[in-house]
Structure formats: C-alpha cells, structure tokens
C-alpha cells in the first residue's frame, strides 16, 4: 500500500519541484521521478500478489468520512501500466527534438496527470473520483493547448464537454448521496436498491463518464483533440486518460448497481461498444490523416472495453473482467507506440497526410515497424496482448449459439482494425519518389516508440501470471 502511495505522491512532488525550482536539467528530474514511481508501482503490485487486496483510510478516520484508498490487483496493474507508459512517454519527450518547444510546460502537467491518474486508480469513492477526474481533465486540456493555435478549438471543445460531463457526474453523485448518505463504493454496494432515483443517478454518472471516456456516440471531441495535441500528449491521452472513466464505470455498475439495473444496462453498453467498433473502425479506415486515424482507432478500441464491460454486466460473467482489463492494458501500450511512431513520422515529414509515409521502410524503418507491431496487437494477432484479451472476450460468446452474433461483431471489428493498420503500413512500403536514405536523426525516439509495442507482444508470454492476477481478483 505504501508503495502505491509513493507511486502516487512522487509525481505530484516532482511536478511541484519542477514548477517551483525550475532546475536546469528538468528532463532528468522528471525521468528519475518516473522511474521511482514505476519502481514503487511494481513493488505495490508484488505486495498485492503476495498478500492480497489492501486498503488505507487517510487520516485514520473510519469509513463514511475518511478518504479511502484501496489497492487491488487490477488497479495495481493499472498503476504499473500508467507508470511504464509515463516513463516511456517522458523519455520520448526528452529525446525527441521536436518536443523541445513544449517541454517547459509539458513536464509539470504530465507529472500532474500521472499523479492524478494513480490517485484515481487507488480511490474507491465517488467524490474522490470526481476530484481526480477534474484534475485529470484540466491537466489534459492544458496539455492539448500546448500544441498552440491549431489545437485551441479542439481543446476548447474538450474543456467544455469535460465540464459538462463533470456536471452530470456530480449531479448523479449528489442524488446518490441524498438517497444513501455515503459515497464509498464498498458501502454503497451493500445499500443500493433498484429504485428510480438510484437508476437516474447511475445513468447520470454513466453519461458523464462516457462523455469523458469518449465512448461512442459521445466521441466526437476525441479525434480532434487527440490528433491535434503534441505527440507525447496524444499518447498519454489515448493510452491512459480515457481509461480512467471506464474504470469508474466498471466499479460503479459491477459493484454499486443492483443486478436488476446492471443486466439491461450491460446490453446497451455492449451495443454502444459495437457501434464504437464499427463506426470508429470505419472512420479510421477513411480518414486521410495519420494521427486522426490513430485517434479514431482509439474510439474503436474503446469499443472493445465497452463491449467487454457490457457483456460482463449483461451476462453477469466475472470472467470477462480479465478480458476488459487486459484490453485496457494492451491498448494502452499499443496506442502509446502508435502515437509516438505516428508523431515521429509526422514530425519528420512535416505532413499530416497518410500518403506522406511513402518509402518509410527505408527512411524510418523503426518507427514504421513500431506502428505495425503495435497495430498487430490492436488487430489481435497472436501472440500479443491484444490477442489474449480478445481470446478471453470471445470465449464466452462462442459457447452459446445465441451469443454468436456478438462474435460476428468482433470479426467485423477485427477486419476493420486490420484495414486501418495496414492502410498505414502498406503506404510505408510504397516506393518514394525522392531517393531518401535512412536518417540517423531521431533514432532513439523511434526505438522508444517501439518499446511499448514490444512490451505488448511480451504480454502474451506472461499471460499466465497476468491471468492468475485477474483470477485472484475475481475470486
């Protein structure tokens, strides 16, 4: 537990340090802080594996009043993922020279984002989540604006919708508090009944969360915001930030909501997930811009999460939790890789359009390879993390013939994701008109972009311990 707290606090402190002290070698400080946070996260994960879920009441007060942090296998895993991705992104930002102009403001905001995310994973009550969500949202919007003038409109949309979402969320929280007098998840879980107020409250909260997570059809802000943001920011937003509301949504519906409400809701969530997969995938296949494609792919991939969550609720199948969270982790890794690679390529060519990728296998082989490898996981090609998650997701679908239409949905979604990934990759193999040679330029940034992609494929090799972790949790 303490390790987890360290992992949360270190980024906050580092952010403050960077802001107040303004040292000369900011990047080293940030990297060291990220490493420390990662180490702490790993220790937290190990301790969870060792001794099971732990909780901590801040300030020593008892339940209804206290701020309660809880460490479970799933959020331990999320903390580690967050720390890993943050570390990689930070290293990328430090080494990639086109991130130079935004660095000053990027470091503290990124650290703030990291800290608040870890706080969100650890929290177990609705108000805490509200606070951390707000922090996260503000940090995210601020990060998007770093891209300058061209991102302002997208950032503004993001900001306004985020505020609107916070309002609906808050409204729902207030209704729940009025009804039951507590905001702690564990307590609420024992109290809730399937009445009209609870239902409305839950729906309000869900709507807000879905907006924040850009779940289809409330995703319209995401492609603009994520594609116009600076590269490391895009990676952080797509990989981590949109997952936070999903986490809350999951706990809310699987713990708090009574099953009479959760079962029908699950069906709708799964349908929306399907819509996200199809529409998001289709849009990704059609967009002419590289980063927009990656952003739409996030919309589509979140559909998997929603589908897994929906079916988990609808069928009341706890096995799907493993699928859900492996999706989240695999997608986080893969998407980081994709955005970093795409950003690096876009920065090198100076063009947004997809056809600027001509001849990339020669000029930027590592970046393109990273994109392809990460894409493989998104498609769900074995043996990657994405494959394991998809495998776990489709297993229950296939047992009953009545569930087979869901599997059809997954097939189509997979094909769409293959289509957009290879749309990019095949461009890279096209002969370029100018005879370019491999540039030594930005080599380390390219390799950093490849790193998470490799990690996500390695996940497949460690699937057994990962699944055991999930089993411990669901048991």
């Amino acid at each position: 537990m303490n390790a987890a707290l360290v992992s949360m606090v270190v980024p906050f402190f580092a952010a403050m340090l960077v802001l107040m002290w303004r040292p000369r070698q900011q990047s080293w400080l940030v990297i060291v802080a990220s490493i420390v946070s990662l180490l702490a996260a790993v220790m937290a994960l190990l301790s969870v594996i060792d001794s099971g879920p732990q909780s901590l009441n801040l300030g020593g007060w008892e339940s209804p009043l206290a701020i309660r942090f809880q460490l479970m296998p799933v959020n331990a895993l999320l903390i580690v993922t967050t720390a890993v991705i943050h570390l990689i992104v930070v290293c990328f930002a430090a080494s990639s020279h086109h991130c130079q102009p935004i660095k000053q403001a990027f470091w503290p905001l990124a650290l703030l984002l990291h800290g608040s995310l870890v706080a969100l994973w650890l929290s177990m009550d609705l108000f805490n989540w509200y606070v951390t969500l707000e922090l996260l949202g503000l940090a995210a919007v601020a990060l998007v604006t770093l891209a300058g003038q061209k991102a302002l409109r997208a950032a503004l949309d993001y900001l306004l919708l985020s505020l609107f979402a916070s309002l609906t969320y808050l409204l729902g929280v207030v209704m729940l508090y009025g009804q039951y007098g507590t905001l702690d998840i564990a307590l609420l879980a024992t109290l809730t009944e399937a009445d009209r107020v609870t239902q409305t409250a839950l729906l309000l909260i869900s709507a807000g969360l879905m907006l924040k997570a850009a779940l289809w059809p409330l995703h319209l802000w995401l492609p603009a915001a994520h594609s116009s943001a600076p590269t490391p920011v895009s990676a952080l937003l797509s990989a981590l930030v949109v997952k936070a509301p999903l986490f809350i949504l999951w706990l809310l519906w699987s713990r708090v909501a009574p099953s009479e409400l959760a079962v029908p809701m699950g069906f709708w969530l799964a349908l929306l997930g399907g819509g996200a997969l199809l529409i998001g995938g289709w849009s990704a296949c059609r967009t002419p811009h590289l980063k927009t494609l990656v952003a739409y792919s996030t919309v589509a991939q979140l559909g998997y999460g929603l589908l897994a969550l929906g079916l988990l609720l609808h069928w009341q199948l706890n096995d799907l939790q493993a699928a859900l969270w492996l999706f989240v982790v695999a997608h986080a890794m893969a998407k980081t890789s994709m955005f970093l690679a795409a950003g690096e390529i876009q920065a090198a060519t100076g063009k947004k359009r997809l056809n600027s990728l001509r001849g990339m296998t020669l000029t930027m082989p590592v970046a393109l390879f990273a994109f392809a490898v990460a894409g493989g996981s998104l498609i769900g090609l074995p043996p990657s993390g994405g494959f394991i998650a998809k495998w776990l997701l489709i297993q229950p679908m296939l047992i009953e013939p009545a569930y087979w239409p869901w599997a059809l949905l997954v097939i189509i979604a997979t094909l769409l994701s293959a289509a957009y990934v290879f749309r990019v990759v095949s461009q890279g193999f096209r002969q370029s008109s100018v005879s370019a040679t491999a540039s030594e330029h930005g080599k380390s940034a390219q390799w950093l972009a490849l790193l998470p992609a490799i990690l996500v494929w390695l996940m497949a090799l460690f699937s057994e311990p990962l699944l055991q972790l999930m089993d411990v949790f669901s048991a």
Binding site: Q395, A407, T414, L415, F422, F429, R430
Partner: protein, 505 residues
C-alpha cells in the same frame, strides 16, 4: 541427454531460420557477403536438424516442446510424421529458393529487408508445420500472413501495393475466421494436442451446431490460404511479387499452409469418425472439385505466364483438399504426397518463369516463341514441371493422381475420378501450348539478333548459374520422386507412413 534434444530440436528448427532472419534485418545493404553467409548457414543448419528429426521420427521417437500461453492452451512445438512431411519440403525448397533469390536479387535494393522477411516466412511455415495444437497453429498461421506481406509489396510499385492490399484483405479475413474457429473449438472442447483420430468425438452429440460452425469457419479461413474457390482471389494478384517469393511462398509455403491446416483439422482435430457423423466433407469435396475445374479454366484464359501458373496453383492445391475430404486412407496418401509433389513441380515452373523474365524480360505467353533454342535447360525444366502438373508419368504428379484416383473409387466417390480427368485435360490445354511455343514455334526475332539475348557460348550459361541450378535441381527432384516413388526415401513412402499412423485402429 536424449530427452533434452527431443525438447530442443523442434525449437531449434524454427530458430535456425528465425535468428538469421533477425540478424539480416540489422545488416546494411552493402554487407552482402555476410548476408549470404547467414542465409546459407541458416539453410544448412535447418536441413541438418530436419534430417536429424526425420531420422528420429522414423525410429518412433517423440519430439515435443511447450511453454504456457493461454489458459488451457500451451504453445507446443512437436515433430510427428505429418509435420515433418511439410517441414522437410519447406526446408529443401528453402535451400533452392535462397540460392535462387540471391541470384535473382543481385544488385537490387532492399535486400536486407527481403531476406529478413523471407527467413521469417520460412520460420513461420516451419513453426506452423511443427505446431502441436490449434492455438500454436493459429499463432504461426497469422505470423505467416504478416511476414509475407512485405515480400508481396517488395517492389513498392502501385501495382504491388494494390496487390498487397488485396492479399492482406483476403489473408487477414481468413486469419480472423480461423481465429474464430479455433476459439470456438476451444470453448467447446478445449485445446488438447493434435491426436490421430481427433479429439472432438466426446462432444459431438452435445455441440453439433458448434462443431459444424467451427468447421465451416476454419475451412473458409484456411481456404483463403489454400486458395479454395470463393476466396482464392489473392493468389493471382500476389504474382506481382519477385519470382522467388512467388515460387516458394505462393506456390508452396502459403498455399500449403492452408492445405496443411485442412489436413490437420480433418485428421487430427475432428477425426474421420466425427466428420462422418457431422457429414461435413461432402460440401468440402464439392468445393474443392469446383476449385480444381474453375482454376484450370481461369488458367487457360490468362495470357501472362505467372498468372497462368497462379491459377494453376489454385487448381492444383485443391487436389490436396479434395484428397483429404474423401476421408479414405488411399486418398490420404494421394493428398499427402501431392503436398510435396505439387510443391516440387510448381516451384520449378515459377523458377522457370522467373528465369525467362530475368534473362530475356519475357512475361507473356506469346513472347515464349522459340525459347527452347535460347534457354534449352530452363525450357526443359519447365516442360518437366508442366507435364508433371498434367499428371504425365513418370513425373511426380502422376503418383499423386494415381493415389487420389484410387482413393476416390475406394471411398465410393467415382465422380471425383472424372474431376481429375477433366482437370488433366484442362491442365494439358493450358500447359501444352506453352511447350509448343517454347520448342516448336519460330521466335519473333532470331535470338542471335536479339539485343539483350545474344546466345551464350555454352548451354550452361543460358542464364545466371544461381538461377539455373535451383531450377534444374527442383525439376530433377520432381522426376526422381516420381520414378523412385517406391523407394524407402520417397515422399510416397513417408506419406504411407503417416497414413499408417493416422489410420491405425
């Protein structure tokens, strides 16, 4: 000590091409000597290891290696008689193709990329052959798709990219169907190791619909690579790839991966008993028969050499599927032996087509007039391949057709014999005109007057030796496997061994 080797050998066989492949990626274009050394080291070490394993398996040893992967489905590499048939084929042909490719690509760009992916492809093929359960098979099946794509689009022209996209559209869709089929079977019965006679008979009463759907999914998915009828469209398109790729991958590795998958599915997953309960093979038989005829007719209508060969592949690979679908031991021998024979003959034909294109820039059938005077050896190899495809004895193709035809009668499907007859006629109709042009027709320009095609001093110099020798080697193999079919080392003998083990009571 012996047990260690029995565990390591399957992995070593896969790694013997994977490691050189990965090393080659890191090489600079100019380090061609090192690249060739790595390639050849990989080739020969693989041949050595495969030879070792062949010996072991014929002695009845078990080779198996496994690591944990999915719940209830480990990654397993194992060597049994069936997998070795395919492994030996790909390793031997890899040798020929590597030498051919070195000659073919001499001086062109992107060679490190090419050979890297080429080795990856072979690793994936070998891994797929050695796969010990469906999930492992799936892993390598998908890897094969990925590793082949860069080779299809290698030239980077617009046509190549378009073909590459078509290729991916088909193979990835097929891959997804296979994935679904594997997952469905896993959901219904878990994923135990492949076992002769299949493992699904205990659940067949319970999950009739599920097993049927899984079979249809898998056959459709594998059918993409095996170029079965409605989903064969990628193969002719993929012919834009360089000749060694067309030769090894599209004529042998990739299409055989599909056919091999169907063999595994029918014999070692479902088993003959289960399939006859489910009555699924009649449809597969009709599909394969239709593909045989359709591919032949389409081949007849092509005017490009490689396209014609591609449709011929579509037709010929379905012989294997058809033989498997008949569910009889003799037909099985035919199918298994055709797996090898078709590979030998088709790779020869593609090598020849590559030689024509590379030496004299000949791509169309109408340009082949009088080729026999200028390139007699290549033309002779081409003749062997073409006649073998028709089923002319004593070339290898005849042996397969013999067993397939007998198998058709044995399993009570006499109509299939007429499919072979019709296909033989059509094969003759599309191959013999090429031979006529090559040997009898008058060249449009005398070779002596041809600007880039001055007749060489010696017959053996008709083209680069690295292009010529692999061609002759495979052509010779195609003849020898046919003539010496009855010997103990022939593919036929090995196929009989497999069938004896698969159909053992």
């Amino acid at each position: 000590m012996m047990t260690d080797i029995q565990t390591i050998l399957p992995v070593a066989i896969v790694l013997s091409s994977l490691i050189p492949g990965l090393l080659i990626f890191s090489l600079k274009e100019s380090q061609h000597r090192l690249r060739i050394t790595l390639n050849l080291a990989g080739v020969f070490s693989k041949l050595l290891l495969v030879g070792w394993m062949l010996h072991g398996v014929s002695q009845g040893q078990q080779f198996s290696f496994s690591i944990t992967f999915l719940p209830g489905a480990d990654l397993i590499l194992q060597g049994d008689a069936l997998s070795l048939q395919f492994v030996a084929l790909s390793s031997v042909l890899w040798l020929a193709t590597t030498i051919y490719a070195i000659g073919y690509l001499e001086g062109s760009a992107f060679r490190s990329r090419f050979f890297g992916y080429f080795s990856l492809c072979v690793s994936a093929t070998v891994g797929l052959a050695l796969a010990g359960n469906l999930v492992t098979f799936l892993v390598f099946y998908e890897l094969l798709t990925l590793a082949t794509f860069p080779l299809v689009v290698h030239r980077g022209t617009d046509a190549a990219i378009r073909a590459g996209k078509v290729y991916l559209a088909y193979t990835v869709s097929g891959g997804v169907l296979v994935l679904m089929g594997v997952a469905l079977l896993h959901a219904l019965a878990g994923t135990p190791d492949f076992i002769p006679g299949g493992y699904l008979s205990p659940v067949v009463d319970q999950h009739q619909a599920g097993l049927t759907l899984a079979f249809v999914l898998m056959v459709l998915g594998l059918g993409v690579k095996a170029a079965l009828l409605p989903v064969h469209g990628w193969l002719p398109q993929a012919m834009v790839a360089p000749a060694p790729v067309s030769a090894l991958l599209h004529a042998v590795a990739v299409v055989k991966a599909g056919a091999f998958g169907i063999i595994r599915l029918v014999y070692d997953v479902y088993g003959i008993e289960t399939l006859s309960i489910l009555q699924l093979t009649q449809g597969l038989m009709i599909l394969a028969a239709a593909t045989i005829i359709y591919g032949s007719i389409r081949a007849l209508q092509q005017t490009e050499i490689k396209k014609r060969l591609a449709y011929s592949t579509v037709s010929q690979v379905s012989y294997i599927t058809l033989g498997v679908a008949m569910l009889g031991p003799i037909a099985a021998i035919g199918a298994l032996v055709h797996l090898v024979h078709q590979g030998l003959m088709k790779i020869t034909l593609f090598f020849c087509a590559g030689n024509f294109a590379e030496t004299l820039n000949i791509h169309h059938i109408r340009e082949m007039n009088g080729l026999g005077q200028r390139m007699p050896l290549t033309m002779a190899a081409f003749t062997v391949g073409a006649l073998g495809m028709i089923g002319v004895p004593p070339i290898a193709g005849f042996i397969s057709k013999w067993y397939l035809g007998l198998g058709a009668l044995e399993t009570g499907q006499p109509w299939i014999l007429w499919v072979f007859v019709g296909s033989g006629l059509l094969n003759a109709a599309y191959f013999l005109p090429l031979l006529y042009r090559g040997w009898f027709a008058k060249p449009a320009v005398e070779w002596a007057a041809h600007p880039q095609a001055r007749r060489p001093a010696s017959v053996w110099n008709e083209t680069h030796w690295m292009l010529l020798w692999p061609t002759l080697f495979t052509a010779l193999l195609a003849i020898v496997t046919g003539i010496l079919a009855g010997s103990d080392f022939s593919p036929l003998a090995w196929a009989q061994l497999i069938v004896a083990r698969e159909f053992a009571p």
